[in-house]
Symmetry: C2
């Protein structure tokens, strides 16, 4: 027969295993998607987080750094250097808001706006690579949005 201590240990093993499986599944899927995008984005000279930032701007530009931080759920400590690199690449412009000099306004340059067409190809190639039915992706998206909000 098994002792209470053994049962407690089994429980511990089980909880830790589930934790590992769930956390790792998320962690690893995010890494895999980044790796999947890399060869596609190399053609645009963008990293994956930079691509996400551009997607935000292609939906609506200009925006302040703070608004982009809200949209991407990132701190200025992450965003500021990333945006400076996009500026260096000539895709965006950074300027202080005259109405409130604390704010920095991010706007697409012509080059940044023009990249939108190539980005469309990237997105389509990505969906091909994923090879997953659209409803499954939409379902996954909704479940992820609900997680740990």
């Amino acid at each position: 027969m098994t002792s209470d201590a053994d049962k407690a240990l089994d429980k511990a093993v089980e909880v830790l295993r589930l934790d590992r499986q769930l956390c790792f599944a998320l962690y690893s899927a995010a890494n895999r998607v980044t790796r999947l995008y890399r060869p596609l984005l190399d053609a645009l000279g963008l990293t994956y987080p930079q691509y996400l930032a551009m997607l935000v701007l292609w939906e609506h530009s200009p925006r302040t750094v703070g608004e982009m931080g809200q949209a991407l759920d990132l701190e200025s400590s992450t965003l500021t250097p990333l945006l400076k690199r996009l500026e260096g690449a000539g895709l965006i412009a950074r300027s202080r808001d005259p109405d409130d000099e604390r704010r920095v306004i991010i706007s697409l340059t012509d080059a940044g706006d023009a990249m939108r067409d190539q980005a469309l190809d990237v997105a389509e190639q990505f969906f091909c690579k994923l090879d997953t039915p659209l409803p499954e992706l939409v379902d996954l998206r909704e479940r992820l949005k609900r997680l740990a909000v």
Copy 2:
């Protein structure tokens, strides 16, 4: 009436929006979970990737660096420095395999093994924080495992 060009643009907007939503949902959920773990893991002096590495070892130790890389889907360029930090913290030991000097064997120290009990608390607190029914989590895990394999 709308022109063909307008329709193509609408399609582009839609594809990019879906891409943004799906990719961002995954990216952002992974970031959120890491942030959720941080205060819990601070008590153990572990980062989130270090915690994942310890979970792997608590399931089965010793393992080689390569085996851990397979389990965590990480390159040696990521794993080696991480493992050196765990070694510095006294939680694991690194030693060359006498049968094949190319391999490095990672084994838990007594301190590393002992941390397992505290880790159990962390995992349980995490599930409390998540506040999500277990079946939903299991379902999410399965969907993530299927994604971009």
